[in-house]
Symmetry: C2
Subunit: 196 residues, 2 copies
DNA sequence: TACAATACGGAGGCAGCCTCCGGTTTATCA
DNA sequence: TGATAAACCGGAGGCTGCCTCCGTATTGTA
């Protein structure tokens, strides 16, 4: 039963007027493609060009590059949260946490810097990201607390620490999936209780 | 006995003519300051201004931003390597490795993105960085192999994996030193042998 | 001192960021 | 349906940073 609605609504306001709404979607779609293909520092004019709208339209709707990133991230964040719930239902305490973190890394690699920035942003202080953080935190805490209760990981661990560490794995340029796996293995080993 | 000479010479050519050499030093010094204060995307014109030279002079000596970064990194890399040797002499196998990694993190935080880019670059394929990598690798392998021999860490671990993981810790924007410590603790725990 | 090699530095072309405002489209109401 | 106001569009243009080019100045040498 993977819920598709976020526990906390994300402040993502799609405009009401028909033409505005259409351009909004065009822009977000174009931005998602461009960010995935060429990284998050793609020229905003290029994105406007792809979307087939004027640069002024882009800037009116998204006053900054971050605002555009936010709109793109909403979907991605949601999918990350949903997956956590799925794993919690099907796997054992530690395995669910592990599976979630692995999917996190795999996703980060496939989306390149897009998710890299996402992880960076996890430490930021914007209204938007604090809500995202809340949702991710809620999803992750479910897994983490189960794992703690089962004695599969150390009780003093903090979710945000883990996420930050795992996010850092894919931060470097051009990381190989195989290496990312090995790094994650180290982290996972570091979560387990120390032998008395 | 901390050696100050790198095992492998770094390709860092200071010019010969008096005025050129003077300007070279001015530029590297200004760049080091600027990078540390405002990150590695400081305007190159700003750096030239700080150094009191024309923008043309900067570009003649350093054809790209990367070239300037390289010149700045030489000293930093050297200091990282030297520290490894110092720890190897004074501490136990695991403690030396731990101390080195901690100093690595502390250094990364204080130098902000400067060292962040350094760690990113550790995965790159330039002649310059491959030599740097060789030096760091040599220094780190000394510590790692000692720790392995003492049974203090798992034998299958790879140094570059560890460095990449540790480097990722400081990748995020505005990380707190205290959080960085906790992340490193997780990594260190992940290095230890798994209880049979 | 005079010459040749080397180096200096800023003007200028280009691209991206962002703002501003005249013209257009949309929704609403009679 | 037709008129009006509100909302929206889009590109020109100012700004800054990147990088190149070349006339002028400095340095080392004979």
């Amino acid at each position: 039963m993977s819920s598709t609605a976020a526990s906390h609504p994300l402040p993502c306001s799609r405009p009401t007027r028909a033409d505005a709404a259409r351009n909004y979607d065009l822009l977000v779609t174009a931005a998602r493609q461009a960010f995935a293909e060429h990284g998050t520092d793609t020229s905003l004019e290029e994105i406007a060009r792809r979307a087939g709208v004027g640069i002024g339209t882009l800037y009116r709707r998204f006053p900054s590059r971050t605002a555009l990133l936010e709109a793109v991230y909403v979907d991605e964040i949601q999918s990350v949260c949903d997956r956590a719930n799925g794993f919690a239902d099907k796997l054992g305490p530690f395995e669910a946490l592990e599976a979630w973190l692995r999917s996190f890394v795999g996703y980060s690699i496939s989306k390149k810097s897009l998710a890299g920035e996402l992880t960076v942003a996890l430490g930021k202080d914007s209204e938007f990201f604090s809500v995202c953080k809340m949702n991710v935190r809620e999803a992750g805490d479910l897994l983490l607390s189960k794992a703690k209760a089962a004695g599969a990981v150390r009780p003093e661990l903090d979710l945000m620490d883990i996420l930050r560490l795992v996010g850092g794995i894919t931060m470097g340029r051009d990381i190989e999936p195989a290496q990312a796996e090995r790094l994650l293995d180290i982290v996972l080993a570091g979560l387990r209780p120390t032998p008395a």
